[in-house]
């Protein structure tokens, strides 16, 4: 049987600083020392230019909705109890694109291109999930 708890992020390896930062309500990513591009998902090299040195920096937390989908059914009881909810791909100001959830916004009001800002939802001792709300929304 599936557990009632949703799947948790794997906080080990190259992504460790990413998840550690979420516990401080910060969105941090590695940036390539060579091409300066944001790297997501986190790696300790740059898949864009092949650079082998990266520096972690805090992101602004602002971005825009690149695409979204309202989930109306889910086999996992942990998600079923929250239906419907809106998952989205959000493009950060820094250029990286994340899978996330849009919160504080009715599903029917979500739009492609909408400005959003990050919030954090604690899911374990080791991680908070970055989620996004309409920019300027009450936090």
């Amino acid at each position: 049987m599936k557990p009632a708890a949703p799947p948790l992020p794997d906080t080990r390896g190259s992504a460790r600083p990413y998840w550690a930062a979420t516990l401080r309500d910060e969105l941090q990513l590695p940036f390539c020392d060579a091409c300066r591009g944001a790297i997501f998902y986190p790696r300790d090299f740059c898949p864009s230019c092949g650079g082998r040195a990266v520096t972690w920096r805090r992101c602004s937390g602002r971005g825009t909705v690149y695409s979204y989908s309202v989930i109306h059914t889910h086999p996992d009881p942990a998600f079923k109890q929250r239906l419907p909810y809106t998952v989205a791909l959000v493009t950060l100001e820094e250029g990286a694109r994340l899978m996330t959830e849009i919160v504080d916004c009715p599903p029917e009001s979500v739009r492609v291109g909408m400005a959003v800002a990050v919030k954090f939802r604690r899911v374990s001792e080791d991680a908070a999930l970055p989620v996004f709300a309409p920019a300027g929304a009450r936090t």
């Binding site: 997501f40 989930i71 998600f79 998952v87």
Partner: protein, 378 residues
């Protein structure tokens, strides 16, 4: 790989639909033996094995054991549902290199009777799964939503793909869903992961399929007309949708361009098209990326039942994954239908004297793209 040097000489399905008393391996074996019968070859003629299925950890090795084949060349590269279309390229290369002479490509799955959900192994997408996406449907939904926002594609246009598939399935006695279906029925079906409704999504069935290949020189002496492989190519860019650079452009742009170049053909030369239709949006994106219409025009292109029986471009003439069968991976069945059309064995759904067919496999979440172009049977 040399244009036309190898050919498909046998194709077959196992029992399809709901087959509760056969395992995935048995369905794969059933299809393999039937495809060898179709070719007029015996199991001991096989010296190359290519298999993939989510239900076996070592697909080609298990198939070899099951059939009693110890191959000279073997492969189970996992390109998702596109694997079998990609295996045509692998088999062609192995045959041309003299590493094997008769290659068997096979698939089997009891996804329907085994519980409905496809086994996807222990891999968890750590930056996606915690958000409650439905894998793989939500990935395709995100592509559809982006295509709608960027190009004005509509739910009605997506539904056109499902309705066209159903109209082909009505001409295919082996298809699972053959009842009447209209645009409104698709739009009225339950929303799963917006903008995809239940009837924008493929079936869940049991089934196996197999394809036999050999050199075109040897093929001439076999039972059925040989169907030559004119071009084949594979491409992938991302594994998970959050790494897809542009949700409206797939690696079919690469695989299609290379396969067409090898075949010396262009989209206008293709008589019949088979595209992996796990979801309605797949067909629209692939028609654009393979060059059958320009980027963003896929929605209007499929409108007015243009890809249905009697339409300008016959697409998924078996009824596809949307209405014929979809036992987890569809690629092998796209090849089988293309070969039947080229051999003029497609009965009521035969689209005339077909001389060229394009088969486009898609694996993962529009991740792997395998394009194979087949020529006229001789």
């Amino acid at each position: 790989m040399k244009r036309g040097a190898t050919s498909i000489v046998g194709v077959a399905e196992s029992a399809l639909g709901i087959v509760p008393d056969r395992s995935a391996l048995e369905l794969m074996g059933d299809a393999a033996l039937a495809a060898l019968d179709d070719a007029g070859l015996g199991v001991k003629d096989v010296d190359g094995l290519f298999a993939q299925t989510p239900y076996l950890w070592h697909p080609s090795i298990s198939l070899g054991e099951h059939l009693g084949v110890s191959p000279r060349f073997t492969g189970s590269t996992n390109m998702g549902g596109a694997s079998f279309v990609g295996f045509v390229q692998h088999a062609a290369l192995a045959i041309e290199a003299g590493l094997c002479e008769v290659a068997l490509i096979a698939y089997g799955s009891n996804q329907r009777s085994g519980g409905g959900r496809l086994v996807t192994g222990s891999e968890q997408l750590s930056f996606e799964a915690p958000y409650g996406t439905i894998y793989p449907a939500t990935s395709y939904a995100l592509m559809a939503q982006r295509h709608m926002a960027q190009y004005g594609t509509t739910s009605e246009q997506l539904a056109e793909v499902a309705v066209a598939a159903r109209r082909w399935a009505q001409l295919n006695p082996k298809a699972m869903e053959r009842g009447p279906l209209g645009i409104d029925d698709v739009l009225a079906s339950r929303m799963i992961t917006s903008p995809l409704h239940k009837l924008d999504c493929c079936l869940v069935t049991d089934g196996g399929g197999a394809v036999v290949m050999t050199s075109t020189a040897r093929a001439r002496s076999l039972r059925k007309p040989a169907v030559p492989v004119l071009g084949a190519a594979t491409a992938h860019v991302h594994r998970q949708v959050l790494q897809m650079p542009d949700l409206t452009v797939t690696a079919a742009t690469q695989s299609g361009e290379r396969a067409f170049a090898m075949a010396g053909l262009k989209p206008a030369d293709i008589d019949v098209v088979q595209i992996y239709d796990a979801f309605t949006i797949n067909v629209i994106l692939a028609l654009e990326d393979l060059g059958f219409c320009s980027k963003g025009e896929g929605g209007p292109f499929v409108a007015g039942q243009r890809i249905a029986p009697g339409g300008a471009l016959p697409v998924n003439t078996s009824g596809g994954g949307l209405s014929y069968c979809h036992p987890g991976m569809l690629g092998i069945f796209l090849l089988i239908e293309a070969v039947r059309q080229l051999r003029r064995e497609a009965g009521e759904r035969q689209v005339g004297a077909v001389q060229t067919a394009l088969v486009h496999g898609i694996g993962g979440v529009h991740s792997a793209h395998c394009t194979t172009i087949l020529g006229g049977a001789a």
